[in-house]
């Protein structure tokens, strides 16, 4: 690509240089590319402007302020069908984030366990994990979502079996541990309740988390400066939970669990996980967990045995070898694909529409789109949401990658 230029031959500019001279050729190409790009976009936009349907309705985001008129079955913030499409969309977005967050947590747990166990010396366990990974990786996630939804909605017992019969005999089924009930309407679980002083407990907890980080930093400083080794795990657990428990007792126990109770016809209290949420959550976790397992395995295998042996030769204990030598290096390999798996989970939550979970695709891209007919606007907003989220995560990931990158030359 580099050119051989001869400074002594001063010649005038010839048109043929635009093609033959690499100094100018790039300008020619870029100009052509720009013209083609403009033509293509111009053609598309021109078509849109001349489209009879679009000419009639125009592009207008005013519909977002109109009442939505449909109900949403999972409402993290209060909502009635009289609220606007905008509020419905916001609820959808929150639901997307809820299921994405839940799935990310459980997928990581599944993935790390499966990835580590697949490297286990135990033949039967490693083979079981290999079967798990291969089966779940090679079958579409949509099929898993639908299968789990079918299980949750069809094989769990109906609520009526939990009902107290009139003659005072025992019901067919009772709550597991008095707390959990799996029914075909969903799974009922206890709800964490905060009384009037709940915010004090929340504040205490946040302060405790900060305290844990502080203790860790202090322990490390002591170790590096004075060579004194302080325990970390137990004090950290203490700092995390003791203040909350103490504050809760002092305030007279405003925090508690509210168990679901069988009323006359249905459960009252507690929290309902609908089959659609369960299907989406569980399917995404177990499917993505299989991919994460492979990333974890690759990350651990990428650390050469010499590293472990060198650390052992220096006299480190096995736990320290793992935390100081192997993990920091393995994480460098594991984290980038892990983040992209998290992004995949977030994008795959849009499959919610297949089981009727009201996420952003179900509200804005589903019912709102169908009711208002504003396809272009709805899909633009939908894409914008996912795009913003993905790009934000990518940006964070790039910062992280730069910070852990091997410093070479």
């Amino acid at each position: 690509m580099t050119t051989i230029t001869d400074p002594h031959r001063a010649e005038g500019f010839r048109v043929s240089q635009l093609i033959n001279d690499t100094r100018y050729r790039s300008y020619t190409f870029q100009f052509i590319a720009l013209v083609c790009l403009f033509l293509a976009f111009g053609w598309l936009i021109n078509n849109a402007i001349n489209n009879p349907v679009l000419q009639e309705v125009g592009i207008d985001f005013g519909y977002l302020q109109a009442p939505a008129g449909y109900d949403i079955n999972q409402q993290p913030i209060p909502y009635t069908s009289q609220d606007t499409h905008l509020r419905a969309s916001i609820i959808g977005a929150i639901n997307t984030l809820i299921v994405a967050f839940l799935s990310i947590v459980t997928a990581t747990i599944f993935g790390v366990i499966a990835g580590v166990l697949r490297l286990s010396n135990n033949w039967i366990i490693s083979k079981l994990m290999a079967v798990y990974v291969e089966i779940f990786r090679n079958i579409p996630v949509l099929i898993w979502i639908i299968i789990i939804f079918t299980v949750a909605a069809n094989t769990f017992p109906p609520i009526s079996e939990f009902r107290l019969p009139r003659d005072g005999s025992d019901p067919d089924r009772t709550l597991l541990l008095g707390m959990f009930a799996a029914t075909n309407q969903g799974v009922f679980i206890p709800r964490l309740t905060f009384g009037g002083m709940g915010w004090i407990i929340a504040a205490t907890f946040i302060a405790s988390v900060a305290g844990v980080f502080g203790w860790r930093a202090y322990a490390r400083k002591e170790l590096y400066e004075k060579g004194r080794e302080l325990p970390v795990l137990l004090p950290a657990l203490g700092i995390l939970f003791l203040p909350v428990i103490v504050v809760n007792l002092v305030l007279g126990g405003p925090m508690g669990l509210e168990n679901p109770e069988m009323g006359r016809f249905r459960f009252e209290g507690g929290f309902l996980l609908r089959p659609s949420l369960i299907a989406l959550w569980f399917a995404l976790s177990i499917y993505t967990g299989a991919f994460i397992a492979e990333n974890v395995r690759a990350g651990i295998l990428a650390i050469s045995k010499g590293q472990t042996e060198a650390a052992a030769a220096l006299g480190l204990r096995p736990g320290r070898i793992m935390s100081l030598v192997v993990l920091p290096q393995a994480l460098r390999v594991i984290i980038p694909p892990l983040i992209s798996q998290y992004l995949n989970i977030t994008k795959n939550t849009s499959l919610a529409i297949a089981v009727g979970y009201m996420d952003l695709t179900g509200t804005l891209g589903g019912i709102t789109l169908n009711q208002t007919g504003r396809a272009l606007e709805c899909i633009m907003l939908l894409m914008l949401f996912y795009l913003t989220f993905s790009l934000a995560i990518s940006a964070i990931m790039n910062v992280y990658n730069r910070s852990v990158m091997l410093k070479e030359r």
């Binding site: 009879p52 679009l54 135990n122 849009s350």
Partner: protein, 432 residues
């Protein structure tokens, strides 16, 4: 001394004792079990748990398969046959397999055509997959296949695929001739030839619609697993070349080209496929001339190809970045221009590195073709959820149908990933 000693003791062994067999605990199955299953208390617990899990899975699965029935015209007859056992009702697959494989609109007397196209796939694909063992001329089968398959599946006059093929052939010939004056003029001339051929040929093919014609089938009639295969194969084969171009564009030193590629790739990778399918379904029509009237299947192919080419571009970019800088400089120092050094030096190596990634994208894409069921196309998932499960004959037969779908997808995807691992071993040129 040894002589004297020999006379003084009663017995001296003259031959070597044969080696004793190792202790029973150190050989064979026993040793293997001790090392792999019961090497410690924790490991023993894990083994017991593992055996329980396997037992639980098999005790559910085996009676379901063994006691299952393949006969019966509807769910009631089927349940009568399997009465009292936990057997599956596989009769639904026996009765509905044409719908599951071809969709419910493809004319049943024409099903031999997609079947033949599928069978020919096994002739057309091996030359490309096992290129190192087969002579190069067999690639002709691969090159001709798309046109034959199109003709078989969609029908219509044979002139359409012939014209399309001729366009490609002419374009390549012209490109080959003109290339010595430069890569770009060659490319331009090639494209011009192709479009000219298609235009002229298209006019002729329109005139002779009945010439050697198979009965035409509309795109709308495609369904079942056939639709997944069609979408998967078309989109993968289209998105690899586009992905290569995008990756090269992203590496390019021309800011406008680079900017366009970056924006395109990041945009497509940032949104879920479903939103792109929504675009195909409802929005794309706004941006095309009203008279164009593109098939839904074509619009879906466009969007899925866009989607997967962005992912393939990122994989190939990884391959390009992994090449040492010396390879690029070697190309320059040999006096090769950009097109030559890319084709002869950079891409062969970069593509080799990216094979596993490309296969991953291809498998992911094939799985993602099931998403078209969300925009009410009747692929395998759409067929099961829609016409079959909602029919009164087979209401409630979930497990058998979904197991069938799982098996189909698993066989294809697992096969592809095994092939890619094999290919990786074949292409490994370093000495380990």
């Amino acid at each position: 001394m040894s002589d004297a000693h020999a006379h003084s003791v009663a017995f001296v062994r003259k031959s070597e004792i044969p080696p004793a067999p190792p202790p029973a605990a150190e050989t064979g199955a026993w040793k293997w079990m001790r090392e792999n299953l019961f090497s410690g208390p924790f490991n023993t617990i894990m083994t017991v748990v593992g055996v329980l899990i396997v037992f639980w899975l098999l005790s559910g699965l085996i009676p379901w398969i063994v006691n299952g029935t393949w006969e019966g015209a509807d769910i009631r007859e089927c349940r009568e046959i399997t009465a009292g056992t936990t057997g599956g009702c596989f009769a639904v697959i026996a009765e509905r397999w044409p719908q599951l494989l071809y969709g419910f609109q493809y004319p049943d007397y024409l099903r031999w055509r997609p079947s033949l196209a599928f069978a020919l796939l096994f002739v057309a694909v091996p030359p490309a997959l096992f290129i190192m063992f087969l002579p190069r001329w067999t690639l002709i089968a691969t090159a001709v296949y798309p046109f034959i398959a199109y003709w078989l599946i969609w029908g219509g006059t044979i002139l359409t695929p012939v014209v399309a093929a001729l366009g490609v052939v002419f374009a390549y010939t012209v490109f080959h001739r003109v290339e010595r004056y430069g890569f770009v003029p060659g490319l331009a001339a090639g494209f011009a030839t192709a479009f000219l051929t298609w235009w002229v040929g298209g006019t002729i093919a329109d005139e002779f619609r009945t010439f050697a014609a198979l009965e035409a089938v509309e795109s709308r009639a495609m369904g079942g697993f056939m639709l997944n295969m069609i979408l998967g194969i078309i989109c993968v084969s289209l998105s690899i070349p586009i992905g290569i171009l995008l990756a090269l564009g992203r590496q390019s030193r021309l800011p406008i080209v680079k900017g366009f590629c970056v924006v395109f790739i990041e945009f497509v990778r940032g949104v879920p496929l479903i939103t792109l399918l929504f675009v195909a379904n409802v929005v794309l029509a706004y941006f095309l001339p009203p008279e164009s009237n593109l098939d839904l299947i074509v619009r879906v192919v466009i969007m899925i190809t866009m989607f997967s080419s962005a992912y393939i571009a990122e994989v190939i970019r990884g391959g390009l970045a992994a090449l040492p800088k010396g390879q690029y400089e070697a190309g320059d120092s040999l006096g090769l221009d950009y097109a030559q050094s890319m084709r002869l030096i950079i891409l062969p190596q970069a593509l080799k590195i990216s094979i596993p990634g490309i296969v991953n994208v291809a498998v992911g894409l094939f799985k993602d073709t099931t998403l078209v069921s969300v925009i009410s196309m009747f692929d395998l998932v759409g067929m099961i959820r829609g016409p079959i499960l909602s029919s009164t004959d087979w209401v409630g037969v979930y497990w058998e149908l979904w197991a069938f779908a799982c098996v189909l997808f698993f066989v294809v995807c697992y096969g592809i990933s095994q092939y890619s691992q094999w290919l990786e071993r074949q292409l490994r040129t370093d000495h380990r």
